[in-house]
């Protein structure tokens, strides 16, 4: 049952992400990104990581894709199909990606080909919260400083004067 659900969500994620990197309309690519990230959130849910799935939907679909759409609007992105969105070196890029997929996939199959994921009972927010505030407190605090730095950096970048 979980295998079938995961396969369906994974297939949706694969198709949507292929459309993200090949679509000729840039706004459509951003909207396919929503589908891909939502399907990956479904994969997290099947793997009993419900908290991660909810955070994924909240942060990615709710914040990041909206930011991307705002950036598309502010940079006057055209809505008609643009063949020049993909460069002429895309066949080479496809070869690089295929070779990388073969190498990584062979390594993964050789290392973990026979392993099974046992069904787990809890993957709840409580376990994640315990881990965050017990084992990973220092990285958590560093991450909050990093978010503050990113905030200040974004403000400083966007408030630069024109004569600079």
């Amino acid at each position: 049952m979980t295998t079938a659900l995961f396969s369906v969500a994974g297939a949706v994620a694969l198709i949507a992400s292929v459309l993200v990197v090949t679509s000729q309309r840039i706004v459509h690519a951003a909207l396919w990104l929503v589908v891909a990230l939502g399907a990956i959130a479904g994969c997290f849910g099947v793997l009993h990581a419900e908290f991660v799935a909810l955070v994924q939907i909240l942060v990615y679909v709710g914040a990041i894709v909206v930011l991307v759409l705002f950036a598309l609007m502010l940079t006057k992105a055209p809505t008609n199909p643009l063949p020049s969105l993909t460069t002429g070196r895309s066949p080479f890029a496809a070869v690089v990606a295929a070779v990388l997929a073969l190498v990584l996939g062979a390594g993964v199959v050789l290392a973990f080909g026979n392993e099974k994921i046992k069904p787990v009972v809890d993957g709840s927010a409580q376990a994640v919260g315990t881990q965050v505030f017990k084992t990973w407190v220092l990285p958590f605090e560093v991450l909050s400083v990093l978010l503050l730095a990113a905030l200040i950096g974004a403000i400083a970048l966007s408030q630069r004067k024109k004569e600079d």
Binding site: T3, I26, I40, C43, L47, A93, V108, L146, A154, L157
Partner: protein, 116 residues
């Protein structure tokens, strides 16, 4: 459920992201491809957490990676808007300011050396 299923999905998603980074021209589509690659990493973390460790360590790290991705896309889009304001385009291939600046500075240094 076999562990190989999420791992292979993560591999393919990562390689789709690599293709997008290499083949796309608009900077915002490059950032979307980055997001796909970060999601592949998250899928690996959650899958290994469900397989062996089972104490939510991988899920915690996945949440951390999602936070990093939010910071990255905020800064990246600020840089993209700055590029658009200065140049009127968001073409990654046409943005060669650093290379040109480098050549110009080198020429200036050569000229200064000749003058002295």
């Amino acid at each position: 459920m076999p562990l190989i299923l999420p791992l292979l999905l993560a591999v393919v998603l990562f390689c789709i992201g690599v293709y997008g980074v290499l083949a796309r021209r608009n900077v915002i589509t490059l950032l979307m491809a980055f997001e796909l690659m970060l999601n592949a990493v998250n899928l690996n973390l959650v899958a290994f957490d469900a397989w062996r460790i089972n104490d939510a360590t991988g899920q915690t790290l996945a949440v951390f990676v999602i936070t990093l991705a939010a910071a990255e896309i905020g800064l990246g889009l600020a840089i993209v808007l700055l590029l658009f304001r200065g140049h009127g385009h968001v073409d990654a291939d046409a943005a060669r300011d650093l290379a040109e600046q480098d050549d110009a500075e080198r020429n200036e240094l050569v000229e200064q050396e000749k003058a002295t």
